[in-house]
Subunit: 114 residues, 2 copies
Amino acid sequence: MDAYRLPAKLLKALAHPVRLRILNALREDEECVCHLTAVVHHRQAYVSQQLRFLRQAGILQDRKDGLRVYYRVKEPRVFDALEIVNALVGVKNEIAPHQVVAACPCPKCETGRE
Amino acid sequence: MDAYRLPAKLLKALAHPVRLRILNALREDEECVCHLTAVVHHRQAYVSQQLRFLRQAGILQDRKDGLRVYYRVKEPRVFDALEIVNALVGVKNEIAPHQVVAACPCPKCETGRE
DNA sequence: CCCATACATTCCTTTTTGTGAATATAATTT
DNA sequence: AAATTATATTCACAAAAAGGAATGTATGGG
């Protein structure tokens, strides 16, 4: 009967400030955990927890490459939904094109620093 | 700093099966509490709780008319967001054009029965 | 004024979620 | 193989949400 359980579950995964922030960092490209940790200003273990939450909700997908794990958004349409929500509450979050973070040792930040 | 708190709060209000069901009943028009209670198959007090939740989140608006209180969705754009979410999880909830409910004594259901 | 009806609120208990701390795993380097 | 680095998991506790039950309020009718 409940055609509402699944969407509710997805919405619940989205309904968290830190997770929204992570998703916003994944708007244009995949990122490694160390990068997300730096961007989001939380401990690595905590970020991993939220990433697992988003992964289990089917929102994120991960890819291993050596020591690093890269996360990406499975379905860009989530951003369409989030943009509507942002508009409804009068918020616009800018899409930063891969913020290079000093604390992040990943290749993408490395080349940005060169 | 947190441009993510507000959207997260709105999403949390949406992230609940019963509340989604209520919203779906409000797709095309306002409805009174007694009608929503009948449609949603929950106790009136419980429905009132969820309605308050949605009202406090700024999603619903109420209008008094005699004994009855009619609720309506403030911003139809929430349905756009919800439709994307539904599509993402592979659900489509049909828009029933004001289901006439036997248990509901409101004028809209009355005229439907005549 | 009393009663019935429609809706709201408050209180309480159970369950779920949030978050920190510590620890585990797995690939890489030396 | 040991150490290092990147990431994941587990445990414990606090905080919040879910939901039931009882009760409160307000409007309209007799």
